[in-house]
Amino acid sequence: MTPNDFLPVLITFFVVGGFAGITLIATHILGPKRYSKEKHDIYECGLDYIGDSRKPFSVKFYLVAVLFVIFDLEVVFMYPWAVNFRHLGLFGFVSMGIFLVILTVGLLYEWKKGALEWE
């Protein structure tokens, strides 16, 4: 895998970006333009909106995001382990087991603290 092998990835980026960009430009040029107050309003599922979206959100959302990042990182460590599972054998299994036990303590802690519940 040299950087040249990532050429398809680059092409995908350009195709995706190009599709999005061309769609935006094409609708801007080709589409009819009829403006009204309702069209320029914020879309809020058909309801009248209250204020704008720059409101302080509850810290509960932040807790969910932090826990997501932590367990995201845990999974990242499992990729290099999974592709070497046969090669590492029992030693790799046990060391990953210790790692998972350490993190499961954290999971149990937040479970018991009620961090997984939405109050």
Binding site: M1, T2, K60, Y62, A65, L67, L73, N84, G106, Y109
Partner: protein, 172 residues
């Protein structure tokens, strides 16, 4: 080819990084930050660190960007213009310049003293680029670096405990 890619990536990175610190709206700052993270992933690919590139996108462009968004949503940043003109601390700006110039000097002196670029040679062959693959990393991680790996687990545990202890409302 790789030289051209590097220059293009570097220009996009510098542009998006500049946009991050000059936008008034914090949400568009974060979107440019995500673009910067993607560019970093491109650099990792050029350096032969493919797994790190994937992790960069998963963790930074995905998870860390979400964290930044939540910080913006939790802080009340509706009217950043209102604070303009009066600075919180008068020494703020010179302090920022001083830190920036200091870090720049450190970086430049490091670059000047380093033996050479850590970039793999352009025609270095597959074995150099194989080092960045997930299986190579896994072999190193689970043999020579097994203790740091387990310590990383403890660090993540500490992060879980800290996050829950700080953000969780105490049960009445």
């Amino acid at each position: 080819m790789q030289g051209v890619m590097f220059i293009v990536l570097a220009l996009v990175t510098l542009f998006s990084a500049l946009m991050v610190i000059t936008r008034k709206d914090p949400v568009s700052s974060i979107l440019y930050l995500v673009l910067t993270f993607f560019c970093f992933a491109g650099f990792y690919v050029l350096l032969g660190a493919q797994f790190l590139a994937a992790v960069q996108i998963i963790v930074y462009a995905g998870a860390i960007a979400v964290l930044f968004l939540f910080v913006v949503m939790m802080l009340n940043l509706r009217e950043p213009e209102a604070e303009e003109g009066k600075e919180l601390i008068p020494i703020w700006k010179p302090l920022g310049y001083a830190v920036g110039i200091g870090v720049g000097i450190v970086f430049l002196s490091y670059l000047a003293s380093s033996p050479g670029p850590a970039i793999p040679p352009l025609n270095g062959g597959d074995e150099i680029y194989a080092m960045g693959r997930a299986d190579f990393l896994g072999k190193a991680l689970f043999t020579d670096f097994i203790l740091p790996f387990e310590i990383a687990g403890v660090l993540l545990l500490a992060a879980v405990l800290g996050a829950v202890a700080l953000a969780k409302k105490k049960r009445v």
